[in-house]
């Protein structure tokens, strides 16, 4: 059996979604993780809990609230309409926003672990060698935390590929726009097209397994997402 054009569209869309979410999360998650790794502020526990929330919440809950917030009568919805952006739900950008929240802990936590494991000393050494804070970050922290960035990118990407509930709540099921692979599989199963479902589901299995295998091979001693 061949992969249909619809399936290819879903695969392409899934990869686009996961790619843009991963890039954005590396940009957003890095300062959050850095702050969490360094701060002694009492707010730290609060921020950690908020970031980790998607790990325990059903994605439908997250999707529901985002739908309400970004919908016609939600505050965010009002704002996006005023800015001329229209409404976010049932669009690709809306999916990206939902996925940012959903995959955030998978990017922040490996980064935070990596930053914490660097310790104080290389940073202090660099500062006695005339390097300012940003300089230290890019010349010492980023290279030393490279395995952490790799884990964060891979986990963020893979987790976004694997999401379902939030996509269904927030994205609907619009071909080429919001119909990603996991939703496509659901559709096939609903329609008793098990052979099609097998093809995509098997592909997802193989993909996820390969990704994790590659990660453990390149990074054998690290726990991926220890909390």
């Amino acid at each position: 059996m061949d992969i249909s054009t619809e399936d290819w569209a879903a695969i392409r869309l899934t990869l686009e979604l996961a790619g843009s979410v991963t890039l954005l999360l590396l940009v957003i998650g890095t300062p959050i993780a850095w702050w969490l790794a360094r701060t002694r502020s009492p707010v730290k526990s609060l921020v950690s809990a908020v970031v980790a929330l998607p790990l325990v919440l059903p994605p439908t809950v997250l999707g529901f609230y985002l739908l309400v917030l970004m919908g016609t009568n939600g505050p965010v919805g009002h704002l996006t309409q005023k800015l001329g952006l229209g409404l976010m739900p049932f669009t690709f950008p809306g999916l990206v926003i939902g996925s940012l929240f959903y995959s955030m802990p998978f990017v922040v936590q490996p980064l935070q672990n990596a930053f914490e494991s660097i310790g104080e000393q290389p940073l202090e050494a660099a500062s006695t060698l005339r390097a300012g804070p940003l300089d230290v970050f890019f010349t010492i922290v980023v290279p030393l935390a490279r395995p952490g960035f790799l884990s964060a990118a891979v986990l963020g990407f893979a987790h976004t590929v694997g999401e379902f509930g939030i996509v269904l709540m927030l994205g609907g099921n619009i071909p080429d726009k919001t119909r990603v692979v996991s939703v496509q599989i659901y559709d096939y199963v609903e329609a008793y097209e098990y052979a099609h479902a097998h093809l995509l589901a098997g592909g997802m299995m193989a993909f996820s397994f390969m990704v994790l295998l590659a990660l453990y091979i390149t990074n054998p001693s690290k726990k991926l997402c220890s909390r």
Partner: protein, 249 residues
């Protein structure tokens, strides 16, 4: 006795739970000054406060007429803007850079980056020319410490701070590196602050000594004056030794 040009002023007040430091130091602007005392006496904290790595609650630090910290004016110069070199107990080389890139790191950032002479001199002084392309993990403890000293020197510091640079080394490595520290003493114009709890090191290297006890300065002055005082020697008696000043010639 020749007059001492006093060029380092450090008044440091630190109050943590279970530890307080109250030191008022005026130190010579030349030679090696040992900050000497048992662990917990506050010597490393003093050094870290002078470097700005630790922020004392109240402090005044002035080196060569340049104020680095003055909390009465809420002035605090961050470490990277203080013209100092710092050598950590376990070298703290950057593990992802070769020896050469470790050395260049500070050298490039201090404005003397183009000065190859200084670079060559420091490499010669510490005898590390053959290690340049190695990674820090492939070095012995003594070699690592020599690279760390050269790296600190290459920032053209006006003050060199050494935090127990020999403490992590065994006897053999220690003997191997002591001559380099003596060379440092003879060839450098800048003052060196040397934290140690080993009397033999202090006797061999220091010109001037600050004796710290429980966060307070118990004595301060030229080495022979301080260690010659009986009351002080008795307190440090766990490692009895005597000091004889003599000229062989």
């Amino acid at each position: 006795m020749q007059p001492i040009t006093e060029s380092i002023r450090a008044r440091i007040n630190v109050d943590y739970a279970g530890f307080s430091l109250d030191a008022d130091l005026t130190l010579p602007g030349k030679g090696i000054t040992a900050l000497f005392g048992q662990s917990g006496s506050g010597k490393t904290t003093t050094l870290r406060c002078i470097a700005g790595l630790e922020r004392a609650q109240r402090a005044f630090v002035e080196v060569n007429g340049q104020v680095w910290q003055d909390d009465s004016r809420r002035f605090f110069l961050p470490p990277h803007k203080r013209q100092l070199g710092y050598v950590f107990q376990d070298a703290a080389l950057f593990p992802h850079m070769t020896v050469r890139r470790n050395l260049e790191y500070g050298h490039k950032r201090c404005g003397a980056g183009q000065d190859r002479d200084i670079f060559v001199q420091a490499v010669d002084l510490l005898d590390i020319g053959h290690l340049m392309e190695r990674m820090p993990l492939k070095l012995s403890g003594g070699e690592r410490q020599r690279v760390a000293i050269a790296r600190a020197l290459l920032t053209s510091p006006s003050l060199l701070l050494l935090d127990e640079p020999l403490a992590a080394l065994d006897m053999k490595r220690k003997r191997e590196i002591l001559p380099y520290l003596e060379r440092l003493h003879d060839s450098l114009e800048i003052p060196i602050l040397y934290v140690s709890h080993q009397q033999d090191e202090v006797l061999r290297l220091a010109d001037h000594i600050v004796l710290l006890e429980n966060g307070k300065v118990a004595a301060s002055g030229p080495l022979f004056d301080v260690l010659g005082r009986l009351d002080i020697s008795a307190r440090q008696a766990e490692e009895a030794s005597s000091v004889i000043e003599a000229t062989v010639g």
